[in-house]
Amino acid sequence: MAGSELSVDTLKSALHRMMLIRRAEEQVIDLATSFDDLIRGHYHVYIGQEASGVGACMALGPDDYMFTTHRNHGHVIARGGEPSPVIAEIIGRTTGYNKGRGGTFHVIAKHLGVLQTSAIVGGCVPMAAGAAFSIKKRGTDQVSLVFFGDGVLEEGAFHEALNMSSLWKLPLIMMCENNSVLPEGRRQGEYPSSSFAATQLADVAKAMNVETHVVDGGDVREVAGLLTELAHRTRAGEGPFFIESRMTRWPGNRGSFPELIGGPHQMDWTWDPGTADARLQDWLTNSDPVSLLCRSLVEEGAMTREEVEEIDAATRKEAEEAREFALSSPTPSPESAMDYIFA
């Protein structure tokens, strides 16, 4: 199924989710930088990767499992999570998905199939393979999808899980989000790296007899098209699959403390990247998945600028409300540190 066949309504709802992630993450950065005591440590946002998460989650059904990493906020919202309990979790409130126990690194939402979120690089892949193992043993037609960064391929845990998922033909989709790719390399190209010896990230999975795909992670249609097909094939017993989803790093994503260059995204920047901060212009022109989708929908006549801006305004409002919800939510009592130790 080619991605371009997605209906306009489907694309609109994908755009809505992507913008919602963008606006929610902007609130997270603002909360971290405006208050000393809300997000006290380092944290990671999903700005610039929205198309990959949203496109992939469009392929999942309600009973499927999803695993993610330190960069989880966007994945949880892409999966259908509401921004309010996500942001509440990120600032440790009792209304957060895990009642403030996990914070930014560990947003967990069982009702979305998000069972354990690990901030250990590589930690999620064996667990996701384990969920796939259990699906196979239980004989259901669920899928286990795991998002992880390119750095995970440097960890041994990945390779062990890859081998077993291939040996045992597990219903597992490994979605490797490579956020270190230059714009021209998103469709093809090698992976020159001082920390990974293979020429292509997918080479390792190929050697283990796992079918691999490379997708432009900045293009939600491509991602959704590919993942929908692979999810069908996974349910038909053809898994596992390894996907390298390539994207270009958002310039504000520097080190462990992201920076909102020029403030929150303005729709003017989408229509005319030349109006943005110089550090953002190239990225907005060639790589920002939200801006690319907005412009292509308008160029194709699927939406007007005004319709796009209405969606943007709605998501901005939703994210602001989520922020207020989180800020007005209670903090855990000190003694509650002692709850939920054993089931």
Binding site: I39, G41, G102, T104, F105, H106, A119, G122, G156, S256
Partner: protein, 324 residues
């Protein structure tokens, strides 16, 4: 003497270790953590760039490579980063390094230093707050350094590098910005296994290491206001442990609080308390108190995190119970 941060003193110690022995190499250079001052830590790369290897995110692999390098004539200092990440390397740290010398009956040595920043750092939550010193203490053959002051970190990192044994070197994110005096005109050498009395007193002994030394000193200050004279003993290294210094102090005071930021069960405080009970029982005039982390993982929000953190206030309360 110069006032400097713990972080700067550690950098000085590492630079001195590199300068004095050309077999010293660094696996990674992220000793300063997320907030490491580039003016301080940049010197490693400027002066010894050719002795730094930047590994992939592969703790098991690069710790193993450091073990192999240590078996063959190099003295690696490995920058693992957050203490929780050392669990990814546990097979090499626990199964291989400490057994090389013993297993070969002395044919080979394994002079590797595994450095990590451990403990409750503030929002580290479940996977960035672990203090693994007690777990490593249960692994015979590993030396363990837990320095709490700038002068101690400078001296002990050099001692760890010179040692022919594998050494776990644990500091604490919250120690890095703390200030203290360091004498740069002397070598500042400190042998492994020698405790330091950080404050003299006569009514109660507080045994504390790493970040807890500062909380113990704060507690001693407020106990003094209440007329209780507390002595603070910092073993500085857990392996080897300066039992004599601890027992000497307990013989003087007859009362002891062991304060430590590891979990209470089978933690650092437990082992020290057991040693005192076994070998210093006759000196004791009251039960030994442990101030440690309850047996839970570390939660995210500050209110819960503070609840599980062993603070100066909790040391004071424990001392009050046994001194009343």
């Amino acid at each position: 003497m110069r006032e400097m941060t713990y972080s700067e003193a550690m950098a000085i110690g590492i630079l001195e270790a590199l300068a004095e022995d050309e077999t010293v190499v660094l696996m990674g250079a992220g000793f300063g953590g997320l907030h490491g001052d580039p003016a301080v830590w940049g010197q490693l790369r400027e002066k010894f760039g050719d002795r730094i290897t930047n590994p992939p995110i592969a703790e098991l692999g690069y710790c193993g490579i450091a073990v192999g390098a240590a078996l063959t004539g190099l003295r690696p200092i490995v920058a693992i980063g957050t203490g929780s990440f050392s669990f990814e390397a546990f097979p090499q740290i626990a199964n291989e390094a400490p057994q090389a010398y013993y297993g070969s009956r002395g044919q080979v040595t394994c002079p590797v230093v595994f450095h990590m920043r451990a403990g409750i750092r503030g929002a580290g939550a479940l996977q960035h707050s672990t203090a693994p010193q007690a777990m490593y203490w249960n692994t015979p053959g590993l030396e363990i350094c837990v320095p709490g002051s700038p002068a101690d970190v400078r001296g002990l990192i050099k001692a760890a590098v010179r040692s022919d044994n594998p050494t776990i070197f644990i500091d604490h994110e919250r120690l890095h910005p703390l200030m203290g005096e360091v004498d740069e005109t002397s070598s500042g050498d400190i042998p492994l296994g020698v405790a330091d009395v950080k404050r003299e007193g006569s009514d109660v002994t507080i045994v504390a290491t790493s970040i807890m030394v500062h909380r113990a000193l704060e507690a001693a200050e407020s106990l003094a206001d209440q007329g209780v004279s507390a002595e603070v003993v910092d073993p500085r290294t857990l392996v080897p442990l300066d039992k004599d210094a601890i027992l000497r102090s307990v013989a003087k005071t007859g009362r002891v609080v062991v304060a430590d930021e590891t979990q209470k069960s089978c933690g650092v405080a437990s082992e020290i308390a057991a040693t005192i009970a076994e070998e210093g029982f006759d000196s004791l005039r009251a039960p030994i108190k442990r101030v440690a982390i309850p047996n839970v993982p570390i939660p995210y929000h500050q209110s819960e995190e503070d609840y599980v953190t062993p603070t100066a206030q909790r040391i004071v309360e424990a001392a009050q119970v046994i001194c009343s």
